[in-house]
Amino acid sequence: MKLKTFPGGLHPPDNKQWSAHKPIETCPLPAELIVPLSQHIGAPAIPCVAAGDVVKKGQVIGEAKGFVSVPVHAPTSGTVAAVEDRLHPMGKALPAVVITPDGDDAWGELPPPLDVQSASVNELRDRLRDCGIVGMGGATFPAHVKLSPPEEKPIHTLILNGVECEPYLTADHRLMLEEAETILDGIAILQKILGVKQTYLGIEANKPDAIALMEKACAGRDIEVVPLEVKYPQGAEKQLILAIAGCEVPSGGLPMDVGVVVQNVGTCAAVADAVLRGIPLIERIATVSGPGIKEPKNLKIRIGMPLAHLVEQCGGLNGEPAKIIMGGPMMGMTQLSLAVPATRGTSGLLLFTAENVPLRPEGPCIRCGRCVRACPAHILPTTIAAYARLDLFEEAEQFNAMDCIECGCCTYSCPAALPLVQAIRHAKGAILAQRRKV
């Protein structure tokens, strides 16, 4: 049978063998947790604790500000050491609550478990917001917002994203293998909130064990497991919808425009914890890997753990690190320091050494067309990038720069080592800034 997929994309070496077979390990608590108040798309949370306060695990330490925002919770019990600006994965110092754990790891008062059958949709959605549930594939968009489609956009299909197409990362893979029941509980809650007719779980074919296990677990439920061709960026929202539901989300539109909502499998597990156990989002699974790590692992980490602590749990550094990447190698962000904390969106931590960071001299575009063939947005990366580098943003926009999903396939495939997606990002930023001005 031909596996479902989308046109375009490419297949980088997946390098998942380093950690795919390693069971999830619980990472012990560090001496200090740095919990950023901005861990989601939308307005940062407002701190509601001060230095010296004693906090319990799960207690709210930052309150949501506005609809597109979620609260932030204490990942363990202890004392607030400071509320101050700390280096954030975004690359600058941003407000954070610094907690010194007391070692008891004692829960505070949690909201009561909800009964999915009897609870109202609003109650369920409010619970997700109160527990700080955000999209855990990396985008960290507040889940309750995504689950509140306007009335004129009825949702008929829920797609669960278990694709994990980024090389190296195996966190979702392990989660599906080890916590299938929790994921299914979460799916049932999402199904109830959205009232969907169809539910699909997309998994890349390079995880046959997860596909088999989830198929077995989903038997008798209203969920269809869809094995997908191994191709990057299969896990990108719009590409996933095209592969599974066969429809294209309109340019500039959202999945809800075609009646679809996509959620990551990690988010499903967090949803189940929040609704059935009242547990807020204070931990997640992250893959720590890369050639610069002694023992690659899948760790269950608390939000706010410094990256250096995760490295320590994985046998330490293997040689001198040259690049610290939060997330995967195709879309992850390089970090200034291992002092940066893990956040709700930290799906992975990759350490590269000097030999994995080739300094590639840039050459002229030879118009080979590799970027054009690889582009899953079906735009002309080399043309847009050429305009972008001359600051000709209007021309870049005419060539559909805003449709770029920034997957990086163009730069990956470019034989002339041109920073194509980087140039397009530059153009997108300038175009958005211009739109705000008008």
Binding site: L10, P12, K238, L242, C247, E248, V249, P250, S251, G252, G253, D257, E320, P321, A322, K323, I324, I325, G327, P329, M330, M331, G332, M333, T334, L336, S337, V357, P358, R360, G363, P364, C365, I366, R367, C368, G369, R370, V372, C375, P376, A377, H378, I379, L380, T383, F399, D403, E406, G408, T411, Y412, S413, C414, P415, A416, A417, V421, Q422, R425
Partner: protein, 329 residues
């Protein structure tokens, strides 16, 4: 440690392909055809290959030095142009013509436009056409193949396409023995440019490029397909006047053109649909020039004309961006 960290915008991994490697692969793919040229035309062919390659690389280095640019002859593009130029010259061509051709290809057709990646026309073909127009006698003095060790001396003769054109012009019909040479045409036993003689070995090189994913099928298939269909159509209309499609395929510069010249990335479209339009255009022009033009062979002109159309083709064949259908629905 913290001071030696690289910060960069994603992605952080890259495919192995480099411009140098692509150029190298194309050169490898041309080696069988070069070997055939040397086999059929002997020492002069080898000298011509060396002259053109050294000439092109030399002019590239000289030009970059004079313009105070970074020396980039290692990218292999000048060497490739040199080999392609040699393959596009008659084996008997004098040494100074080879050097003049190298100058035209590299300096006039490439560097003046900004060097690699910026030339609108295929440099080797510009050189061939400039030489053909400026030195028609030397550029159309063809010799019959004299395989190495056969002891045959090189004798002047006409190319199959030239013979066909002449017969049609003089007698209004094709020569009677036209079809007789198919087997030898395929292997390379025909008069012609150094690299145009063996359709089989050129095809082999072309398939290698397809296998290595250096080129895609669109340009060669649409080019050759159009020649077969259009050439076949005329042949069906009047077989005594128009040669059959197999003759079209096996003679002249078509195989070299379709797999190695028309597929020159810099001067051909980047869009998939554009490649089909471009290849079809090349095929159309080739057949029309061969059958109705003043020259017996039209491949060089056809490709150069389509090179000129490439920016326009790219503009009008942009892929349908993701999400456009649903927007209109």
């Amino acid at each position: 440690m913290e001071n030696r960290l690289y910060l960069s915008s994603s992605p952080h991994v890259y495919a192995g392909a480099t411009t140098d490697a692509i150029m190298r692969q194309v050169i490898y793919a041309l080696l069988p055809a070069c070997a055939a040229g040397i086999y059929f035309f002997g020492l002069p062919a080898l000298v011509l290959l060396i002259l053109c390659t050294a000439g092109c690389v030399g002019f590239e280095a000289l030009g970059q030095k004079l313009m105070q640019q970074k020396l980039a002859i290692r990218d292999g593009s000048a060497a490739l142009t040199g080999i392609l130029l040699a393959l596009n010259l008659p084996p008997s061509c004098p040494w100074w013509l080879a050097l003049l051709g190298s100058f035209v290809a590299i300096v006039i057709a490439k560097q003046i436009y900004g060097g690699l990646g910026y030339n609108p026309f295929n440099p080797a073909l510009v050189a061939r056409v400039v030489l053909l127009i400026s030195f028609p006698v030397q550029m159309t003095r063809w010799t019959a193949p004299a395989p190495l060790g056969s002891g045959i001396d090189a004798v002047s003769t006409a190319t199959p396409l030239g013979a066909a054109k002449e017969a049609v012009m003089l007698h209004g019909q094709l020569p009677a023995d036209l079809q007789s040479g198919f087997g030898s045409y395929l292997l390379g036993h025909q008069a012609g440019c150094l690299g145009e003689v063996s359709a089989l070995l050129l095809l082999l090189g072309g398939l290698y490029l397809l296998w290595k994913k250096i080129i895609t099928w669109q340009i060669p298939v649409s080019y050759l397909g159009t020649v077969v269909v259009l050439g076949g159509l005329f042949w069906l209309i009047d077989g005594s006047r128009y040669p059959d499609p197999v003759f079209h395929l096996l003679t002249g510069g078509l195989m070299l053109g379709a797999f190695f010249m028309a597929t020159d990335m810099v001067t051909s479209p980047v869009t998939t649909r554009g490649m089909l339009v471009y290849g079809t255009g090349c095929g159309l022009m080739t057949v029309l020039i061969r059958l109705f033009g003043g020259y017996p062979e039209g491949v060089s002109f056809a490709i150069l004309l389509m090179n000129a159309a490439t920016p326009l083709i790219d503009r009008y064949t942009q892929p349908k961006k993701f999400g456009l259908v649903a927007e209109q629905a």
